[in-house]
Subunit: 222 residues, 2 copies
């Protein structure tokens, strides 16, 4: 299997909707679109930067964050393979610049569509449009929930919710959790200690093992 054909296969696997395109159209769009690889920590885009193109993620994940002048940050959402950074569509369609930062969380492989190709697809592929709209809709509701959580929920509840929403032995640092919540590391440490004392989880270096997810979930929904 040739290199390019392999890429095409992966692309179609991740983005089944692209099968709807006539073969000639497909190769026309992706003929010269190489796969881009970005290691963890790469800043894909940043605030007030114009938009270069539209990424289709084949593997990896990206954190989209807002960061405050004092160094604190807050995660707006996460983009995984098969999704696409809707913020980019927003830039491309709204003709504005980025208003957040995108950082590679797990090594990314992606194909980047030129703005022109993106617009063309939007114009004449109904499935692609639906896909983009669906993502938009999802992000919008996610963001509304996020605003609501930040405004009304206490940090302990938000932390509990975050913990149960992630893989179980969770390998991460307190600082990373704080950055996801938009808070400070000490707060997270304190709260985690509290949870541990309740017997809800066990703590280790860069490791959180949840023992009683039910209790945590109940607490988060209080």
């Amino acid at each position: 299997m040739s290199y390019s054909a392999e890429n095409d296969a992966r692309l179609l696997e991740r983005y089944p909707l692209l099968r709807e395109l006539p073969a000639t159209r497909f190769s026309e769009l992706f003929a010269n679109a190489g796969v881009m690889r970005l290691p963890m920590g790469t800043v894909i885009f940043d605030e007030n930067q114009p938009c270069q193109g539209f990424p289709l993620l084949l593997a990896g994940s990206v954190r989209v964050i807002k960061s405050a002048p004092n160094g604190r940050e807050l995660q707006l959402y996460r983009v995984g393979a098969g999704e696409s950074c809707i913020l980019t569509s927003s830039c491309l369609l709204g003709h504005s610049n980025y208003r957040a930062r995108g950082v590679v969380e797990q090594d990314v492989e992606m194909v980047v569509l030129s703005p022109a190709a993106f617009r063309a697809l939007m114009a004449d592929s109904a499935p692609f449009r639906d896909f983009i709209f669906g993502l938009f809709a999802e992000r919008l509701t996610d963001l509304m929930e996020l605003v609501s959580a930040v405004a009304f929920q206490k940090l302990d509840q938000r932390l509990a919710a975050l913990l149960v929403s992630r893989p179980n032995p969770l390998r991460t640092t307190h600082q990373a959790l704080a950055d996801e919540l938009g808070s400070a590391r000490e707060m997270v440490s304190r709260l985690l200690k509290g949870f541990a004392e309740q017997g809800w989880l066990r703590l280790g270096r860069e490791q959180i093992e949840i023992i009683d997810p039910t209790a945590l979930r109940r607490f988060s929904e209080l």
Copy 2:
């Protein structure tokens, strides 16, 4: 001028993009779409409610809010004439229910498009699609800024920003401002008193007169 023709004229005035439609298509869509009038305070939609149709605002404004179980609320954004509640598009396109509440702020007149008509328009009118995408993009960035403000800015700065963003002698109650910020009335009263002592504004019953908008703006951007 007949009643219906007058409505059509107003609709086209508010939504110039509809002029792009062939006349037959236009009348087909809006033939039986009467103008709906809703007085202040009406709850147009609410959380977990399915979506009835797509509104095109001719006049008035709608506050889209999240409300907490303890009675506090927070405004997500405002929808004015010529705009449209993007949340509704989100529902219609994402097939989900509303995740916020819409309340009429100033008496509303609107035309409601059926879900079917909305989908049809999306499918075959490029200008309409662009319009909707533009609104989506705008809301998305607005919401991101809101999250950022709620997470990182102090209440006094947010209040200052809110004040300068509104018509000058501002006629409203402290409670209404608190609801817009997602905070409590007492906080707003206290902070306003502080601003008044700085000589930045003058307070009256249901009235705030800004004297020094520059100082307020500078403070809000601190």
